[in-house]
Symmetry: C3
Subunit: 207 residues, 3 copies
């Protein structure tokens, strides 16, 4: 059950990576590469940091298959995806919540402290997108816009709190994933953004 | 014998990284850094993902020596390299085939499935170049041009097929490396490119 | 004692990452992310390559706390940091020396050869800054300006030499850190730069 959800999340993330590649007019291979790295990148980084190697996504071929399916859909249905982008973002929010919860649970299982658990969960959730953005030369979205990683962080916090309170792992996962996904959807609805750290006049400017 | 070829491949890749640094007018250290990361970067990523740590290129000092030699040649002979770029690309194609075959064989030895083996082989072959391009702020060549990673992928496929058919490891390696290198050379000759995934009018454009 | 210094270095590096985020007008989360990656990024890369996983900075929560403190200071005191940048750079030079020495010592303890030790030490010292620059889309400073990584490399060389001569670990560390920090400060004072590798007329230009 968990694995099926994980594969679905991978598929959705891979589709978003593949779509970004289509927008940048990359060739088929570029689409496949971006789809794979966006789909499994976050989990790869998490597994490397936890020393759980080879990573799950290399041991179980279904993850790479899910990525290639995502890439194929991105190529075949790009105009349709562009028109129905809101629904893609809905699926993306679900994937975000799931990845954050699974990543945090894995960090907890490896004995990390609270901040480490939050880092493991958020990296799993947003790592693939950061890799995608760096490869196509964009400032990673997570650094400057949207209430995206923040939703993942808060979801991980919910998982930690429920873990401390003695809730069962299933309840921890569901509550954490739901918190993240719902926060993300509400933020999309309201176009919420975090306050921006700024330098008023007299400060240095980015060169 | 294999190690000697591996070192030669590392030297060629390091030289290409160092040459890129010279073109960007980096200082000597920048040349050395780009040479090292291009030369051993693909293998580093592969070894990290396979959990084979510290990576071969850190355990055996000859790899880093080969990188520094590549950097020195790039600095000393940059104009000559620029004029004889075709011959450099010839050596690069040989390195590509070798790295793809060695990476795929290592993935196979670690029990990965077919897609994992192909990923391990291609990452070994193109990972260093991707790191080089990201560091100097270019869209990684592998994402958008040339029949480069594709040649590596097809070579890995040949290795897998021969493995299934029960060929000896030596035959697997030679056939895979030759397939990749020859495909790459033919593609250079014909300026072959993969079809580009595109959005016709009405689609979104990359912002 | 060592850990306290390590935490101080992490704090200073995180502050510089957070400050860079403020200059790029990122939101609070972006500031925190850049601060964390700049603060612990070099050590993460080193620990991944040495196979010492999970990395020290994920096992000991104080590292992430130091990063978040650095981020908070960067947000709260950005204009003041901008005016007193020289003092920030002074602290940064101290962090650089410390990180280089600790990284080299760890590489030595893991049985790396001389070049591997130098690579481990320099990566620890400059890795966080490279990650920071790549994420905000800048050519990593270490590739093209200042006598920065070079100071780290020379410090690692001192550690190696003293190790060969049979000096105690404490002396190795202190001498290596001092060498790096002092070289860095002298270079700042004199605006020293490494010679640039160049192509005179007739050479290719970066596209």
């Amino acid at each position: 059950m968990l694995v099926v959800l994980d594969l679905l999340g991978t598929f959705v993330f891979a589709m978003s990576g593949g779509f970004e590649a289509v927008r940048h007019r990359l060739d088929w291979l570029g689409v496949a590469v971006l789809a794979v790295l966006t789909g499994v990148g976050g989990g790869l980084v998490r597994d490397v940091l936890l020393g759980d190697l080879p990573p799950a996504s290399l041991r179980d071929e279904r993850y790479l298959v899910a990525c290639l399916l995502g890439a194929a859909v991105a190529v075949a249905a790009a105009p349709r995806l562009a028109r129905g982008w809101n629904r893609v973002m809905l699926a993306d929010a679900a994937g975000l919540g799931l990845f954050a919860a699974l990543g945090a649970a894995k960090g907890l299982a490896h004995g990390l402290g609270p901040l480490g658990v939050i880092l493991a969960g958020s990296l799993t959730a947003v790592g693939g997108g950061v890799i995608r953005d760096v490869l196509v030369g964009k400032l990673p979205a997570v650094l400057h816009k949207d209430f995206y990683a923040t939703a993942a962080i808060l979801g991980c916090g919910v998982l930690l709190a429920l873990h401390r309170l003695g809730a069962t792992p299933a309840i921890q996962l569901v509550a954490a994933a739901a918190t993240t996904s719902i926060l993300r959807l509400v933020a999309m609805e309201r176009r919420a953004q975090l306050p921006r750290a700024g330098l008023r006049d007299g400060g240095p400017s980015a060169d």
